[in-house]
Amino acid sequence: MEYFFFIVRRLMWSLLVLVGLSIVIFMIARVVPGDPARIALGPLATTEQVANLRHKMGLDRPLYVQYAVYIGGLVRGDFGQSLLTQRSVALDLRTAFPATLELVLATIVIATLLGIPTGVLAARFKDTWVDNIGRVVSLLGVVTPSFFIALLLQLLVGYYLHFLPVNGRLDPSVSFTPDITGLVLVDALIRGQPGVWFDGLRHLLLPAISLAAASLGQIARITRSSMIDVSRKDYVEAARAFGIPDLVTTFKYMLKPSFIPTLTILGLEFASLLGNAFLVEMVFGWPGMAAYGVRAILHKDFNAIMGVVMITGAFFVFVNLLIDVLLGTVDPRIRIRGARS
């Protein structure tokens, strides 16, 4: 019960964070020099046309009224009109978000599937060559700018080896609209189109790897250090002293508790993953939210900027909420006491 309250409290707090976020971003968007009405009307519009549109868009009303209107819209899932695409931002995001989601999910899968074993191995063979290699690889992942990895991969795998495609989500010859979940790989499976699935995978690989490098490195590092921390705990010594085999001690008695710090830090790390997605999507022409957002920013498309930031923030907050729930499943202390220890 306390755990349930804990989650509910986190949920409410998340909502509050989002409200705060909306205020911050609304302020930023409104102090931006630039007139949305003029932008909407295009370069040749007359002053009179601009004034009319400003009125129609409510830009001549006091700031708090504008904010109230905006929030009112948000509650109904309405992010307003994009100036650039001339249609509802919500609709734009509905196509852009799944693309980003697919990329981020693939990234997380790659990063955890490779990162955790790397970290565990490095901790298990601490100070040996296994550890050294693991540490170098994970450090390189962390310190290399993701856009640089993306460029290098494009260069090596795309241009020189002609191994994998370097642009977009699907081959131009493939005509497929992911209209069920929005995720190409999932929708292709549902629709039973293995060709499309394979093509989607080929397109997904390089962006996902570029993006995963940093998270992978971070996961490996955290896993390693928390495994080492855990390995100094009495209960690990106890497991050893009771003759429980090394493998079981490592993968059961050490790994699970070491998930606790790993998960906690990953939640925060997720923000930088989303940030990097912005760069990687640009490099690979991935038609996701980040590409949409950067374009919105470059074109001062206010509603779109706010929409992107809000969705990104909500995504981040949601993931952290999810992590809290996961933490609860890993750590009975949270489940029982209903608080992070």
Binding site: R38, P43, L44, Q49, Q86, T95, P287
Partner: protein, 497 residues
């Protein structure tokens, strides 16, 4: 089926013909929609939905006779009522090209005299009127009316759906990444041999991506905005050829004539002299010489006695010495170009390097395009110098002069000179009120000389349009209006399927 894949460097904002303003938007619109008339490669007006038309002698009434067999993509016939509705809708929404018709057309100016005849009653004489008609695209009034929400003239619906009669139909559109069109079999003008069946516009301004798309065989045609290196790289691939044509688009350094220091004619002349035209034209951005405000494609109105400008740092120093700002240390100068366009940046760097040699202190401020349109709206925020391309929106020198130099048009990116010169204004108005081509030409030639003397711009070059395209793709011709050259009805695929 043949598919043409080409890259566009900006995203499609809207495909609503009443709201389209930009080059990219017209690429879609010209394929999805038809106007009453259109423009050919020489800027001449050609029949489209209207098979013929006539103007009243006083040039205030135009009557268009519609083709009887034209249908919209949903099969409904194109009627005079659709035309009337389309104009009303354009004026009511008051975006897109509607500014062209301010004071020329009112909501009741257009009437249908029968199912296939439309009459335009102009509110005043406007000689370039016929040249503006290609921008009025006809929408299927029934479908639009059926989808009106809260009196929005169907904006929400038309934003996503094609309601035109053009040669291609919208198949799918992923905003920000690609748009696919497919051929409209029952197109009124019919189809010749080897038509293009499918069109795919891929949005990317990344040179590397364009090259890799080309290398992998995905790309049929590039945009006209690629970097030199890309054209060179593609030309090396056996599949491609680079098609190059002179255009009606000129590339200017627009100088703000109302703020220091570019309010001084000598400063402007100094900048013009310090411009390394040859390097720009040959190395950075291939183009033809431009002597004055008007490119040479406007043959009959072009003043051919103007001298090509030349790069001369001594001249620049001399002019600067004559200016009011001389002798007070380096003269600060703001210089803006479109962020992300590498050739514009290169020109900026070149200009900075040369200008600083003669006594300026240049600050380079790349800005995104939208931001440029924004800062252009006020004298005080308009930079001293801005790199700007300008091409005619409709096939008349009026488009070049009015929009750039008339004081009535100031406050837009195309008039960042803020010229505000009464002589210039008068000449433009005179030309508009004349229907006699010879008289018009005389006025335009005088106007060109006047503007050159005022030096509101450094005239960099006439753009050459360059596309790398598959050798099988033929039919490309430059059209001096918007992106009308991307009307794929004119193209064919000569290699069979």
């Amino acid at each position: 089926a043949t598919t043409v894949t080409l890259n566009v460097v900006q995203i499609f904002g809207t495909i609503d013909p009443a709201k389209v303003t930009d080059y990219t938007g017209y690429m879609a619109a010209v394929n999805l929609y038809d106007g009453l008339v259109t423009v050919d490669k020489d800027g001449a007006i050609q029949p489209l939905l209207a098979s013929s038309w006539e103007a009243s002698p006083d040039a205030t009434t135009y009557t268009f006779h519609l083709r009887p067999n034209a249908t919209f993509h949903n099969g409904a016939p194109v009627t005079a009522d659709d035309v009337v509705y389309s104009v009303k809708r354009l004026l009511a929404i008051d975006q897109g090209p509607s500014y062209l018709f301010k004071g020329v057309l009112g909501p009741d100016s257009v009437t249908a005299s029968d199912a296939h005849t439309v009459v335009f009653h102009l509110q005043k004489v406007f000689s370039p009127f016929l040249a503006t008609v290609p921008l009025i695209f006809v929408v299927d009034s029934k479908t639009v009316q059926a989808n009106v929400k809260d009196g929005d003239w169907g904006q929400a619906y038309v934003a996503d759906h094609d309601v035109g009669s053009g040669p291609y139909m919208l198949e799918s559109w992923t905003r920000g990444s690609e748009m696919r069109l497919k051929r409209f079999d029952n197109y009124a003008l019919g189809w010749g041999k080897d038509p293009i069946d499918n069109l795919r516009f891929v949005v990317t301004n990344d040179e590397a991506t364009v090259r890799s798309l080309a290398a992998s065989g995905e790309l049929t045609m590039t945009s006209e905005f690629q970097a030199n290196e890309t054209y060179t790289a593609l030309a090396k691939m056996s599949r491609f050829r680079v098609v190059e044509q002179p255009t009606g688009t000129a590339f200017y350094l627009k100088m703000n004539t109302q703020v220091a220091p570019t309010d001084d004619l000598h400063v402007r002349k100094a900048i013009a002299c310090a411009t390394d035209y040859a390097t720009i034209r040959t190395t950075i951005y291939p183009g033809d010489a431009l002597a004055g405000p008007l490119p040479a494609v406007f043959k009959s109105d072009y003043l051919d006695t103007l001298k090509e400008p030349s790069f001369d740092l001594n001249c620049a120093k001399d002019e600067l010495a004559k200016s009011a700002y001389a002798g007070k240390g380096p003269i600060p100068l703001t210089f803006t170009y479109v962020a992300g366009a590498s050739f514009e940046e290169e020109i900026g760097l070149l200009m900075k390097s040369n200008l600083e040699k003669v006594g300026f202190k240049v600050s380079l401020d790349p800005e995104p395009w939208n931001r440029i349109t924004e800062i252009a709206s006020k004298v005080s925020t308009t930079p001293n110098v801005t790199e700007v391309f300008f091409g005619a929106t409709y096939a008349s020198p009026d488009s070049m002069f009015f929009t750039q130099y008339d004081s009535a048009a100031s406050g837009t990116w195309s008039s960042m000179e803020w010229l505000n010169n009464p002589d210039v204004d008068k000449m433009i108005a005179d030309a508009r009120a004349t229907t006699d081509p010879a008289q018009q030409a005389a006025i335009y030639k005088k106007l060109q000389q006047t503007i050159v003397d005022l030096q509101p711009d450094a005239f960099l070059l006439v753009q050459k349009v360059r596309h790398a395209m598959d050798k099988c793709l033929t039919g490309y011709n430059y059209v001096p209006v918007q992106s009308f050259d991307y009307n794929f009805h004119n193209y064919s695929w000569t290699c069979g399927n």
